[in-house]
Point group: C2
Chain length 296, copies 2
């Protein structure tokens, strides 16, 4: 199997759903324009694809949970819009395009983020999606887990620690908190979403959780290495920005080579976690390996 083709197919499933939603006049244009601008700014849909691949690994058919998976992309996109704000990371470019506040102004960028976050819970709770025997109790469990992963127990706490840590003494405890919360929690819940919606056994959900935690951290480490070594054109933003902002990062604290080894170990841990799964977990395995080969 070619993982690039798999990623493309699944990304297209998510994109088709999002295009249909943002292309219909259900939302007032004043907000749907800035929401759509960031949603269609070239995201790789990694979190939704992980949810779909995990659902497949547990015996489901990806099409059935596209609206749920797409909610993860709304949350990820909102977090990028808010992270880029002048009061946070103050970034003018994201994936090679002007950031939301550069195009729509700060006030509208804040509101577009707020709207995307809220819309994610609308996607997750909409009855029309609940075909294929997905139970209301499983949906409620997912909503609760996504809220924990995205909010003050997870991603927002990581971002708070991140902006407070900038320029402060670098410390492995802070770094671990930032990684597990800022990026790890949402990636892990993406993988769990697929398993929970597929009504997988507890043991399998636990294995997939371990997979998610491992690839979440590996993904972040590679991200930070790419920020140092990467090509600005390919990254879509200036390389070296973490160092200029004195961001607490893995390679900054431990060096590039030890960080790369750590990422490799984590990917191996993710593969080990899938030991009991059939060939249906093939895409999850390939995604884990692919993380080490990313160039953008």
């Amino acid at each position: 199997m070619d993982i690039k083709i798999y990623l493309k197919e699944k990304r297209e499933l998510v994109d088709a759903f999002l295009k249909k939603y943002f292309g219909s006049p259900v939302l007032p244009a004043i907000l749907s324009d800035p929401m759509a601008y960031s949603i269609f700014a070239g995201g790789k849909r990694i979190r939704p694809v992980l949810a779909l691949a995990s659902y497949e690994a547990c015996g489901g058919t990806a099409d059935e949970i596209v609206p749920f998976a797409s909610a993860l992309e709304l949350i990820h996109t909102y977090s990028l819009i808010h992270d880029d704000l002048p009061a946070m990371d103050n970034d003018d470019l994201r994936r090679g395009k002007p950031t939301s506040h550069k195009v729509f102004g700060e006030g509208m960028a804040i509101l577009a983020g707020d709207a995307l976050l809220t819309e994610a819970f609308y996607f997750l709770s909409s009855h029309s999606h609940h075909a294929s025997g997905i139970r209301s109790s499983a949906v409620l469990k997912i909503i609760r887990e996504v809220a924990m992963a995205a909010g003050a127990h997870g991603m927002v706490a990581g971002q708070a620690e991140d902006i407070q840590a900038e320029g402060a003494v670098q410390n492995s405890e802070n770094l671990s908190f930032i990684h597990t919360h800022k990026t790890g929690a949402l990636i892990t819940v993406s993988v769990r979403m697929g398993a929970i919606l597929a009504n997988a056994e507890k043991r399998r959900i636990a294995s997939l959780t371990r997979y998610g935690e491992n690839i979440g951290l590996a993904f972040q480490i590679i991200d930070d290495i790419l920020d140092i070594r990467g090509d600005s054109a390919e990254l879509g933003k200036p390389a070296g920005s973490d160092e200029r902002k004195k961001k607490l990062t893995y390679p900054g604290l431990y060096g590039i080579d030890p960080s790369m080894r750590k990422a490799e170990e984590l990917v191996q841990g993710a593969l080990d976690a899938l030991g009991d799964f059939s060939h249906k977990a093939g895409p999850l395995r390939e995604i884990a390996r692919y993380i080490l080969q990313r160039t953008n």
Copy 2:
């Protein structure tokens, strides 16, 4: 019955729940401090109290749905924090206290708002609250409706229109859009929440929706009148700020006396909507009347 005593009792129910939650170490301190600062900055808990009163009007016991009702206050508080930001209304004072970004900085204020919004959906989806036979399908319906009322279909759209309309030509269509979206939607869904969780008949939910729409608009009109005529000390913010910011308001567009008459008509419409309800809707009736007597 003394409505002030009723409002105080119900406010205390909500406050006790919120104090217990924010007093326990479930959230990282980096965020729970700014979240709690705004949550306990003197809010009147009108939206939660409306949900509780509506639940009682449909035969329920208020204690059973306090976590759901409290979620509405998290959403209302997040919206105030973001509205006060320099990129929005740029307000330094709220209820007589420095606003979140004055105390914690802009970045942390944005994150505290994001966290409160997300936490609201955690409150709504938490199994531990689902005692008293409230069904998962009713909870999912509530989550969907709250997301619609709070997000790009509702409150956030109203705020977007509001910041774009500042200083622009005043127009009754814009004004109506702003009112129904920015404040009306969340107040209406608060009233609907009580009825839906009580498993009320469709006809009753429709009546309560009409009640909510009427008092929502009456509440906003009185708010705008108080901004013109009010006492700064009692309001906790400088009176006349809407006019200075060239905000589109009801009294600004139609004058104070016609606006007051409109508010009275709306309150009467709200009372009419409750025509079929028993004495259990007494608090809802008194709340509607009380809106016309507010001084802060």
